[in-house]
């Protein structure tokens, strides 16, 4: 700190001293002060307003039913998201396929699952036994049957929730992945071909790792949104976090405190996810130090230059002379 000050002094020592008056943003400060007052007023009600019933919140925050519900929410989010991502990658690749049947089926899938509300899709999975009472494995269009099961036994609330969330997520992920894949320059594919890589290998080693940079941020958003969307599966009577809270307040009528309990947990998990998303994005930003998104890379670059103590131009020149 003192060293920087010294440097400034020596740098400006010979010049006359000047007082710099920055532009004052009075309007901004007045608005900001007003906002702070309003917020402080609201914050004080959190303490003074008895209706919040913080004692009840504290009592239920770690209750086993809430924690089980929280675990179900995390489980639903994880499974549906993983299934959705796998489905999304497959559908995105199908969509880009040269085979018209594949690309049309992929289009149809995205069209249907993005075009109807998740709520309705979940109800369909819940009531599917009314539509298909039995499912069986046999030869199509004949009576031959090797295996059969009643839909009512098969379609538990858990499975209905997973199916509804995954298939819906898959449609959105497909579009995200497709955007990522098409953001990669055609030359990358050709370079892979030129050294004799197979199409599958080019996709896995060249295209997807680079597309990740484009795919990850919206996927992170989708994970966070999925965590909250799981609350919709209460329609198929699956006791995730919100439904667990609802089941409790349906009996004791402590609606507000229990909703606060659920909200605290949702906030806690989404905050954790946000931090995780940030470090993942940094990882896949490797080799893209010029992009403003990857601040770690820029820093690394600056440090590299400082260590060497020569600007890059000088470096090139020495190599040119060397070669």
């Amino acid at each position: 700190m003192s060293r920087t000050e010294e440097r400034i002094e020596t740098g400006t020592g010979s010049r006359p001293t000047m007082t710099v008056v920055p532009v004052r943003h009075w309007g901004q400060w007045i608005t900001a002060a007003a906002l702070v007052v309003v917020l402080a007023g609201f914050a004080s009600t959190l303490v003074t307003n008895e209706n919040y019933r913080w004692d009840v919140v504290g009592q239920y925050l770690f209750s086993s039913r809430i924690l089980t519900g929280l675990w179900h929410t995390i489980e639903l989010t994880a499974i549906s998201m993983i299934a959705g991502i796998i489905l999304g990658v497959l559908v995105a690749i199908m969509r880009e396929s040269t085979n018209p049947v594949f690309s049309k089926i992929a289009w149809l899938y995205i069209w249907f699952f993005r075009g109807t509300p998740l709520f309705v899709q979940l109800l369909f999975w819940g009531y599917i036994a009314a539509l298909y009472p039995n499912i069986s494995l046999g030869i199509p269009f004949t009576d031959a049957e090797f295996w059969s099961v009643e839909m009512r036994d098969l379609m538990t609330p858990w499975l209905a929730a997973i199916l509804g969330l995954s298939l819906n997520e898959g449609a959105y992920m497909a579009e995200i992945v497709r955007g990522g894949l098409s953001s990669i320059d055609q030359g990358q594919r050709e370079a892979g071909q030129a050294i004799g890589m197979s199409r599958a290998r080019i996709l896995r080693r060249i295209i997807l790792p680079q597309a990740m940079r484009v795919i990850l941020p919206p996927t992170g958003n989708n994970v966070i949104s999925m965590l909250k969307t799981t609350s919709v599966v209460s329609v198929v009577a699956f006791p995730e976090l919100l439904y667990s809270a609802q089941l409790i307040y349906a009996v004791n009528y402590l609606t507000i405190p229990l909703l606060i309990v659920a909200s605290i947990w949702y906030l806690l998990v989404t905050t954790t996810l946000t931090i995780g998303q940030h470090s993942l994005e940094k990882h896949f930003g490797q080799g893209h130090t010029t992009s403003a998104r990857s601040s770690g890379g820029v820093l690394r670059n600056v440090m590299r230059l400082q260590r060497r103590g020569t600007p890059p131009e000088a470096d090139i020149a020495t190599e040119k002379a060397h070669g």
């Binding site: 320059d185 030359g187 990358q188 050709e190 370079a191 071909q193 030129a194 050294i195 004799g196 890589m197 197979s198 199409r199 290998r201 080693r205 060249i206 790792p209 680079q210 896949f284 490797q286 080799g287 893209h288 130090t289 010029t290 670059n301 590299r304 890059p312 090139i316 190599e319 040119k320 060397h322 070669g323």
Partner: protein, 269 residues
């Protein structure tokens, strides 16, 4: 394999993009251990020709042989059967290619770029592949850049890494698609220098280029193309110094005027 046979042979090759015919019947022979330079105005089909040789573009008719091996198809009973991917890949591994836009893999370090082919496809042991990569990097004058990412390199350095990456597959022939066209003028020399060394080592090279000085100094055979056809070809001393065709003369006049400063730089280095 008969070593007196040409490395690359094209027989009445036609290629169209939709209704646009880009190659209108190309017959061409490229000898082993020789440098063939393809020159001509943009849109004349020279880059497309190059890309057909390693089957990145499919031809519409005709035949291309690399080392006496029909590219992309199997001929049986008068019919051409398109090759399975596995066989196309096997052929491409023997043909190195360097692109105008470098096309390095930006998410991999320099040495990872070079090792991707040998380790991932040829299953060369990691240590051996790394030693090989470092040998190649030394050869192109970039030994100290092994762990750098492509975006930390200048254009000339990128292109030299791209050459090393192609060489790592130990190809029989190297294709260069305007390797210096995307470079700042002062960086052209270092890339041409590496190509010069490569030619001197006996590599069979096919170079699409606007560097007339390079074609004259390093080329063994010069092919002038215009509008999808070969207009004239022969030794550089003939085609470049005493072109017999009016279109060649006009093209060379234009290019020499334009690239005069670059040519001077190249000769100085």
């Amino acid at each position: 394999m008969n070593n007196t046979l040409p490395m690359v042979r094209l027989e009445s090759v036609h290629k169209s993009f939709g209704s646009l015919e880009v190659l209108k019947g190309i017959d061409l022979v490229m000898e082993r251990e020789k440098v063939t330079c393809l020159i001509g105005p943009s849109g004349s089909g020279k880059s497309t020709l190059l890309r057909c040789i390693n089957h990145i573009e499919r031809i519409n008719s005709g035949r291309i042989f690399v080392d006496n091996d029909l590219v992309g198809y199997t001929e049986r009973g008068g019919k051409f059967y398109e090759m399975k991917e596995r066989d196309t890949i096997r052929q491409r591994q023997q043909i190195g290619m360097v692109f105008q836009g470098f096309n390095l893999f930006p998410h991999m370090t320099v040495e990872q770029n070079i090792m991707e082919g040998p380790v991932g496809i040829l299953k060369v042991p990691l240590a051996e592949a790394r030693a090989d990569a470092h040998r190649l990097l030394t050869r192109v004058g970039l030994a100290e850049k092994a762990t750098a990412y492509p975006n930390q390199l200048s254009g000339g350095q990128k292109q030299r890494v791209a050459i090393a990456r192609a060489l790592a597959m130990k190809p029989k022939v190297m294709l260069f698609d305007e390797p210096t066209s995307a470079l700042d003028p002062e960086l052209v020399g270092e890339v041409l220098e590496v190509m010069r060394d490569l030619a001197a080592s006996g590599m069979t090279m096919i170079v699409v280029t606007h560097e007339i000085a390079f074609a004259r100094d390093v080329g063994d055979h010069v092919v002038f193309m215009d509008d999808g056809r070969i207009v004239e070809q022969g030794a550089p001393s003939e085609v470049l110094s005493r072109p017999s065709h009016a279109r060649t003369q006009a093209f060379l006049r234009g290019v020499l005027l334009e690239s005069a400063p670059t040519a001077a730089v190249t000769e100085m280095s």
